[in-house]
């Protein structure tokens, strides 16, 4: 029975609670000085990797990886504080403050790392809350030619066989596949633990390797260009009615009654 060698890619994104603002040139979202944290779906994948190990499934190690500017290391430290054994930071130069990377580039980079570190399970967040691409996991599965189970809400590992329950429109779907495979996480998979202060201190001693795209031999030049970014149209205000008759009158006006 081979043990799992898990890779968990994580991304540093604008915190979910912050309302994003479009920058002055309408080409991107303003990120300078804005609070950043780990993509919530990636927290779910780190948590799942750690829980798989806690369920006494043989896990050799859990490696977290992130691609981006130097600040991406904060997110890697959080991942290690949650339970990852070591981390890899792929330094990406920024283009106008934004890491110059697309899902396809990320997938190519991850493929190179998977082969280099001989991983047999990759757990990714289903999408990042800033790009909302929902492409990286699927592209990686295609590049590696591995089976994939996306939007996982439950993962069971038994030896070489992995059974995944997926969230689909109208219900759930249960898939089974043999390692190696790709899994992407859905919101209902688990409740991510909080990185407590003692764990964060311990994480500082864990190994963090640095690499570049050239080291991995990956060409991740952008193929898409962002033409314009605009905020959605502001919501039109509602009107207040004085009484029940007023309400009925308004509904008749709108043709709802």
């Amino acid at each position: 029975m081979s043990s799992l060698r898990i890779l968990v890619p994580v991304k540093r994104v604008i915190d979910y609670a912050i309302k994003p603002r479009v920058n002055k040139t309408q080409t991107a979202v303003e990120t300078a000085g804005v609070k950043h944290s780990m993509n919530p779906f990636d927290e779910l994948s780190v948590e799942e990797a750690v829980r798989i190990r806690e369920r006494k499934v043989p896990v050799e190690d859990i490696v977290a990886i992130s691609a981006g500017p130097t600040k991406a290391q904060d997110v890697l430290r959080t991942a290690m504080a949650m339970g990852c054994d070591r981390a890899i930071h792929v330094e990406i130069p920024t283009d106008k403050g934004e890491p110059d990377l697309e899902p396809l580039g990320v997938a190519k980079m991850l493929k190179a790392v998977v082969e280099k570190e001989k991983r047999n399970l990759v757990i990714l967040g289903k999408q990042s809350i800033d790009d909302d691409a929902n492409q990286t996991g699927q592209m990686l599965a295609g590049l590696l030619n591995w089976p994939q189970a996306t939007q996982a809400s439950k993962v069971d590992v038994e030896g070489e066989q992995v059974t995944v329950t997926r969230e689909v429109d109208g219900g759930v779907e249960t898939l089974s596949a043999k390692l190696p495979m790709i899994i992407t996480t859905d919101l209902r998979l688990n409740e991510p633990r909080f990185a407590s202060l003692p764990n964060i201190m311990k994480a500082k001693k864990k190994k963090l390797d640095k690499m570049t795209l050239q080291d991995l031999g990956v060409d991740a030049t952008r193929r898409l260009k962002t033409v314009k970014v605009t905020e959605p149209a502001p919501r039109k205000g509602g009107g207040k009615v004085d009484s029940v008759d007023g309400l009925i009158g308004k509904l008749k006006e709108l043709g709802a009654l």
Binding site: Y16, P40, I129, L187, E191
Partner: protein
Amino acid sequence: MTQISLRHQVIRIYKDLLYLGREYPLGYDYFRPRLHKAFAARAGLTNEEEIKRGIQRAEFVKKEIETMYYLKRYRTLRHRYDKPQI
């Protein structure tokens, strides 16, 4: 594992709560003085049992805050990504 002294336990739970308070929805500036007051009010305790109960209450509050953060995030993401189709 050696038993940490009560004093250190109190300091540890205070630091943990302070760390959690950074993301408090009403702001760190709202959280920090209230946390300080809550601990300062019990600073004169000498009875070991009472101190232990105080620590347990602080641990309880810590769990409550963590759960609140988790629920807030879960609800926001659920609303954003799983909007029920009308």
